[in-house]
Symmetry: none
Subunit: 215 residues, 4 copies
């Protein structure tokens, strides 16, 4: 039935992307991200995934394990890196482009649901929250900070604490969108709003850290 029959025990977890596992994870995503870990029932997941309850347990030891696997997938998804060229001549334009791309992903309804779910159980399952942060926001910060270091070295930015600056820019990018979506007071932004938000963020950022008051 499933095509790529996993040979007896190839890798333990990652390789077994049999069609069934996909089905299940997709069902789990729909249900977990909508109802949260405790709110979701294995019955719901089975129904949405189109498999029997028993089948869930063939592939995942228990609810927490299934949830973990789903979150691991979401993290992987969040690992996507957005382009940033340390040798690019136009810092403002580079940052704007970066910000738009990043925001376009982050403000995705799907991503917001992941974030909500993860934050919702961060107290109960601290590791889930920490891992997610590490693979998501943290990577962006590290990425930006490295970029800043390079530009500072090249004399094109004036920054004391690059990590702090990176965090500030990241927050500025999120302005008016991320928190608002998390609380459910607004919908996913269109391209125009994303562009404007990113641009304003960069303007504010460079007002402080830019070499000659660019933007």
């Amino acid at each position: 039935m499933s095509e790529q029959k996993h040979s007896p025990l190839p890798d333990l977890q990652p390789a077994e992307d049999s069609a069934k596992v996909r089905q299940i994870l997709d069902g789990a995503r729909a249900v977990f991200l909508k109802l949260g870990f405790d709110g979701a029932s294995m019955g719901d997941i089975a129904r949405v995934a189109g498999v029997s309850k028993g089948t869930l347990y063939v592939y995942f030891e228990n609810k927490a394990e299934l949830f973990s696997a789903l979150i691991a997938e979401e993290r992987k998804r969040a690992k996507r890196e957005f382009h940033l060229d340390p040798d690019g001549p136009d810092i403002a334009e580079d940052l704007r482009r970066y910000g738009r791309a990043m925001l376009a992903y982050v403000s995705t309804a799907q991503n917001i649901r992941s974030v909500r779910t993860v934050i919702g159980i961060a107290e109960k399952f601290p590791k889930v929250g920490q891992d997610f942060y590490r693979d998501g926001p943290e990577r962006g910060i590290v990425h930006l900070a490295a970029y800043f270091e390079a530009q500072v070295a090249a004399g094109r930015l004036r920054i004391d604490d690059c990590r702090m600056a990176a965090r500030q820019l990241q927050m500025l990018f999120h302005t008016g969108i991320v928190s608002e979506m998390l609380y459910g007071v607004r919908a996913q932004p269109g391209d125009a709003e994303i562009a404007r938000t990113a641009d304003e963020a960069v303007t504010t950022f460079l007002a402080r850290y830019g070499v000659n008051g660019a933007a």
Copy 2:
């Protein structure tokens, strides 16, 4: 599992803060904020509150209603306004003071738990998230925006879109603290860190919006 029955109830009987209601809400806070809506059981709450399960239902129609009442209380708590004098001569100092006070409250473990809980069920109970946002973050933004309008009128700030600027400053204040606590990757900050974070936020903010590059 009725979706949004948290009707006016909490507002209907506001005065009857009999000791029992207090007890119950305190127990509910401890349990709900720790375990989330679905994770918490009425039995837990009764035990922690030191009342019988039956008593819970004397004061609250059901679990959702109790949760709703608790969140209403948290909202009220979040309504606290931080001082900001539109006629103050030293904008930088004013904003720093404001930022520190606000952050000191926002970064409270208790507040973080509230936020987590609310965000965690924002998809399931949208009204809860919206109300909470309206009484919390939104009020801060409105407050700041009004302050900015006044300062712009007085020629002491240069801002086109005051709401946008307010949002940006709010985000800058949160830098490195709020998200990180929500994800559980860091603990509550001390006064020194709060001060530094607020100061840096104001510096970046005024680099763009200040009249003469103050800070």
Copy 3:
């Protein structure tokens, strides 16, 4: 509803013989002794006891605990001591009387079911088997052995190893009845058979240990 309302927390376990507990234990007895620990379902027990499944868990933490409580009751029941007068002049008659009384109890269908159940899970729950043995058969042996010691001291029996003799007599009493009932190859004996079995046991016993070949 229940008559003797157990005051809040009188004794932890033993005293709360509320009517409900009785009902439940009686249901549990019927079901457990018929189907064994694993074969019995909490649903069955609830139905037979005439309470809801939930109620079971109000009084007993889980299935094993309920089973334990039932077995504890059976053990208590098994503790009954049968009369044996160390100063009685007619040893043969005393032992016959003792044997009949003991057999009458042991060969009860109810007792046999208990024994079957206990032996059936002795490998899984060793403590259950050991406790049951200690309170049941072992007590009989100790009782008999003490009686023999007295009679030997009085010169009315000739026994080297009184515990061994006690065990032998106990086995002789069981002859043709207990094993057979355990295996389900025969029904509960009538008074006549009990009498005859006990008498024969005593005759054999005294042939070896009696002072003058009595019987």
Copy 4:
């Protein structure tokens, strides 16, 4: 959970002791005798036997059938007859030898487990208990009784009811060992204890039934 479907199946295909059947029965023995009928799962058995769950059903119609086949094997094992020479000159020695051999087998951990398992489900599956008794203990009694008849005829024993005497001797042999092991209060005896127990049994037995008070 069909009650007594252990039909002639095991007898139908007696010869096909293909390695697979052996494997399965050995696995079934390990699991059933340890966990009991209800406690054992087909999954456990498959794993221990080293075959797939599906294969179990190739050879046995269902769980009850497999159990039945296993018990049939155990019965066969229990059929082993212990030597007893009706013309032997030294009855005491003969009986002692017999007792020791029999006890050595009966007190085997493996046999005890079989007995426990069979007794444990004797109420649920009466036929299992009855068949087992017939092939095990009953055969010993018949064997002994026949021996006694011969010796009585030869004037070397004085017995009214030979079956009763046989049962008594059998019980005496078990003294202090079999019940105790069934309840799990003691371990398998060593040779010395077996010898002593058998000897004491014979001594008591012959005190009553011996022609001249031998032993």
